[in-house]
Symmetry: C2
Subunit: 211 residues, 2 copies
DNA sequence: CCAAAAATGGACTATTTGGTCCATTCGATG
DNA sequence: CATCGAATGGACCAAATAGTCCATTTTTGG
């Protein structure tokens, strides 16, 4: 309204530090709730209570629930990518890949597999419901997969991974194994299938090691 | 109430063929809607309209929405298992496994990857919401995976798959690749990642072939 | 063909939930 | 310390949605 074509989500008016903090509190609370209960099962009243805000605050920062959902998706995507960057940025050996797998399995074991992947569960629920959210999630998956592929390429540069290996395809396959593992673990309330799936994907990558 | 410990879902009274048909129509319509819109986004009014029934019919056959959801889950599980039995029952060669993959990819390509796996999408949405549904889905996945494992064992018996291969683990890994592939395809609206994931899983199994 | 049971249509109710509005409080700034 | 815009609390509204109920029609079985 103010300046056509400015930000994607234009704040209704000038935001102070206080307002910004409230907004962050809302998104954080919503992200947590939507992760454990699902997006559609999370009500705005749930969010209001969990974030210790009021209805007016919610609508001060978000035009409607969909916009809040998109903010949550963006937030989660950012969090996951940042976390994964920490693990994958310097990946350059098969041992590093194993450590990465162990970290994922361990984190998921804390909740016995429940809730699944923060991105995956939202992707499943939102892909056929909110195209903008779907695209954001698709980009996040692409970036995540890209981090893995870059690591595999570094392994090739270091000479430990054969040049016949296709880093992009291997990365997609590994990501699929991870996501499928999350889903099976969530359904069974047991992380065993997630471990098995990742082990199999790593086994396959191992077959491309040069030594 | 009538006889404690009789059927899991006791029909309210004697069912005639007509009543049974109505019930089937409701479950079918609900299954379709819930597959494309998601379980929580499907309202009872949607189901009523799509099944050409009335509110009284819905509540004649199901105590509440949860019970309808569980009937849908059971139905879908039955359908998928039956379909997969058709493909996997006589599986005894790697070529058969490839045909199985092709059929899955082709079916998913018809809708450009949208909606994902009928079981997987429900599993993701219901696992943290309805424990009974979760268990049914876990059993269905186990049975499906078991069909694959049995096929791999027949390959071992036929001598084409090495005895060092672990059919159970390979089947779980393959199922995870499939489910992860479904999810990525759904999110990207492109079946390519599903193909890549399945190819990688099959490549890995191929490495256990004896010739 | 008749009576009882089953099936049906659809109006109606209660509750949940998304969304609006405004009076009041808070905080930055001159 | 006065003022104005931002921030807030929470009552209130409207739509959506789950669930109830009963009069009527259809089917079944004697």
């Amino acid at each position: 309204m103010t300046r056509p074509g400015s930000a994607t989500v234009a704040p209704p008016r000038q935001l102070t530090a206080r307002g910004l903090a409230t907004r962050a509190r809302i998104v954080d609370a919503a992200a947590d709730l939507m992760y454990v209960k699902g997006v559609n099962a999370t009500t705005l009243d749930d969010v209001r209570a969990a974030s210790s805000t009021s209805k007016s605050q919610l609508y001060q920062h978000f035009a409607d629930k969909d916009e809040l959902v998109r903010a949550v998706v963006a937030r989660r995507a950012g969090q996951v990518i940042e976390r994964e960057q920490g693990y994958l940025e310097r990946l350059r050996s098969f041992r590093g890949l194993e450590r990465w797998r162990d970290a994922l399995v361990q984190r998921n074991a804390l909740q016995n597999g429940a809730y699944g992947c923060a991105l995956g569960s939202m992707a499943s629920e939102l892909s056929d419901q909110d195209d903008e959210a779907r695209q954001t999630l698709a980009e996040a998956f692409a970036e995540w997969t890209g981090l893995i592929a870059a690591g595999l390429r570094r392994m090739q540069d270091a000479g430990s991974l054969s040049d016949t290996a296709d880093p992009d395809k291997l990365a997609v396959g590994l990501m699929a194994a991870l996501q499928g593992g999350y889903l099976l673990a969530e359904t069974q309330h047991d992380i065993a299938p997630m471990e098995t799936a990742l082990d199999m994907a790593l086994d396959h990558i191992r077959s491309f090691l040069t030594k």
